[in-house]
Symmetry: C2
Subunit: 437 residues, 2 copies
């Protein structure tokens, strides 16, 4: 039986999971692939990594360069993360003619175009199923299963940390800070949670998916980003009263030849399947012109689910190697000469439904002042609710709009904020509800 | 640009959809594949098929033999259905060295092993993504994305007709017969609905998925089959009271080296994601040792969603052809020499939770007689409900069991049915609830 040699760089959580699967499910993998997937090297600067798992003699090394320079290695699996040494090692591996598997969404979102160009030049594969949605096969689905579809929209819960926090605020009525502390205690959030809770991680994934969906280069700057740190139990409670739940959604749409690409807290109807995706789980719906809507759901993180996605990339490349078919599928789903610039809808041009919450003094005429300004900006109100209960001397006035323009909303809200009867910065949460006009 | 020639056999609903996508999304497909996917032939015995879609001159033919004998044709797409002429044409196409795409689950479930053997001998691909779950990429996910996983279980809603009927009984409280009539009117059920409502179609799909999951031959006889024609609004109402919904589930599990494979109406908790898959939609959860649980969801039937899945197979084969990599992935997910016999758990050995409904005379001592017999067979009851309201002079006695053995259940129910105080055949519905012991 032929043998495919794998060099693993990085023995952290996911790297260890990959090694475990290669070793523990070796017979299964051979039965599926028809070749041995041989873990030839496992590299980590931290020699303690060796203790989490027992490698065969001579497999562990602290020298990553040795791994990427080994002429017998066919596939390099980069599980280091970050944009420093990981970038250098991937670049060198590609130069050395190795196929590369990575889960490094931050790197791909910011420097992916360079890497994909280098991989094309060298004729090697650069695979990244685990970079988006953990074990959900979203990259393969987009690149292969939906190949006959013009992708029209994607709506995803792509960050498990945020989904856990929002689920806890929803279920337990606790504050963002308390829910974050819980997530950190459970190991679902980093000590510095910025990358997750401010929406950057979801934005990296959105930038990657957008490229695959529409045939354009990856451009992180095209993604509008808003995190969940200002989501309150009060807004979640109001959302519930309107039949909505709040999720951090990654939304990407192709409308009239322009791409809409945004990550922000979003109200969605409770009977939407995504509303029922809770805890650290991820899910994504994809709309295509032929397929209608499909959904994928699964663990977006964690040692073994993420390792499963990495293994699927290794298997793909191994199958290519066995029939001498490198780059059988273009990494970004389209042939390189078909990748084009697609205009991005500026956020001010967005048309959406909105939820507003104003903290208004409990005085006569307040509602008329607020709604007067909204009217001036052609913001048509679907629903108003003025809650009687006082919060810090102010009452919440809650509104849901018809479909209106973001630029008008921003200007109206700036004016409303300047009203003397309005005591705090207004809260704005976008709504995705296909049944609303 | 290279051209891949496609010969389409059968211009019914799905065949027409395939032609529409090949023609309408031609530029998109070329941008993804790097070659032209050329619809060289579209064959149908019914010349009216020509009128549903305008083919380029010389494409339509009534002579399928001409298509499979054309040396320029690379891929034959069989969209005829049934097990007669479709089998002959696929066999001949394989003999002629053509790659074949089919959605014919009935044929694959009964004669797939022969066809896969023939395809292996001839070195051609035999692809069938559209045979299970319409546009959900379940075949590709099983064969490729989950390659590193031992599959432990699959639970699917795989028949849209049944799901529509059960959804209507649930939502409208109407009878099976009334819901079936509605489904027929809406075009969701055939004039003779047996194949769907008696569970055979879901069983065909279960047999195919089982082979892919565990590495065994397709064996339809291994699947236990029970349809939905005896599901009543009353049982759905009781299910709701216990927090359950009733779905026709395809269940396949690997437990202690034995395969469990069954299709039957099943109660599942309302907060299970599958409970919220309604109407004609399909969904499947797959549990693997690495991945945990993932779910796919989408349209299981319909012209364009099914055609999208067929196109994904055509694209896969085209990509193989372009880099001379036929049979890059083994059609049944495992190398042929790894496919083995796996013992099947006899249905009598099944351990499950059960729902029973007895129609009992409203007399003292009835419950004691019923529960006495259940006790003799070691059937431990989790919940009993004796509803006061009379139905045809009898009262429904409803029970939910702990995990017990099917053989014991069947024997106990046969004895209970013979009791003078029990007026009808007892109703038995299996429960899948991970939280129940």
């Amino acid at each position: 039986m032929k043998s495919i040699n794998i060099g693993l760089l990085g023995c952290g959580t996911v790297g260890t999971g990959v090694a475990k699967l290669l070793m523990g499910n070796k017979a299964l993998l051979s039965a599926r692939v028809g070749a041995e997937l041989n873990l030839k090297w496992a590299a980590d600067v931290d020699t303690e990594a060796e203790r989490k798992i027992t490698f065969a003699e001579g497999v562990f090394t602290t020298n990553a360069r040795q791994v990427i320079d080994d002429p017998q290695v066919d596939i390099i699996v980069e599980m280091i993360g970050g944009q420093g040494i990981a970038m250098q090692l991937i670049q060198q591996a590609i130069e050395n003619g190795k196929h590369v598997v990575t889960a490094n969404k931050a790197l791909l979102a910011s420097r992916g175009n360079e890497l994909f160009t280098a991989a094309a030049r060298q004729g090697v594969d650069l695979a990244f199923e685990a970079a988006v949605g953990g074990c959900m096969p979203i990259i393969k689905t987009m690149r292969e299963s939906l190949a006959g579809n013009h992708i029209q929209a994607m709506t995803g819960i792509l960050n498990g940390t945020c989904n856990y926090i929002l689920s806890r605020i929803t279920d337990a009525g606790i504050s963002f800070e308390a829910a974050l502390a819980e997530a950190q205690q459970e190991g679902y959030a980093e000590a510095d949670p910025t990358l997750d809770v401010e929406g950057f991680d979801a934005a990296h994934k959105t930038a990657i998916l957008g490229a695959l969906a529409y045939g354009m280069e990856i451009n992180l700057n095209d993604v509008y980003i808003e995190g969940i740190s200002s989501v309150t139990p009060l807004d979640i409670e109001f959302a519930g009263q309107f039949g909505y739940r709040i999720k951090l959604l990654a939304i990407s749409k192709m409308t009239n030849g322009m791409v809409e690409s945004r990550v922000h807290p979003t109200m969605i109807p409770r009977d939407n399947l995504l509303s029922n995706v809770n805890g650290t789980l991820n899910a994504i719906t994809i709309t295509g012109d032929a397929v209608g809507e499909i959904m994928l759901y699964g663990h977006g993180a964690g040692m073994m689910p993420t390792a499963s996605a990495v293994i699927s990339d290794i298997v793909d490349i191994a199958r290519n190697l066995l029939c001498t078919a490198p780059r059988r599928v273009p990494p970004l789903a389209y042939q390189r000469n078909s990748i084009r610039k697609i205009p991005v809808l500026p956020m001010e041009e967005l048309i959406s439904n909105y939820y507003f919450r104003f903290s208004a003094l409990d005085q006569p005429g307040v509602l008329s002042k607020i709604s007067g300004i909204l009217g001036e900006y052609n913001i048509s109100i679907h629903y108003v609710h003025q809650k009687g209960r006082k919060t810090n001397g102010a009452v919440p006035v809650v509104m849901i709009t018809h479909r209106v323009k973001e630029a008008d909303v921003k200007q109206a809200l700036a004016e409303i904020q300047n009203l003397k009867v309005v005591s705090k910065e207004p809260v704005l949460i976008r709504i995705e509800d296909a049944h609303m006009e």
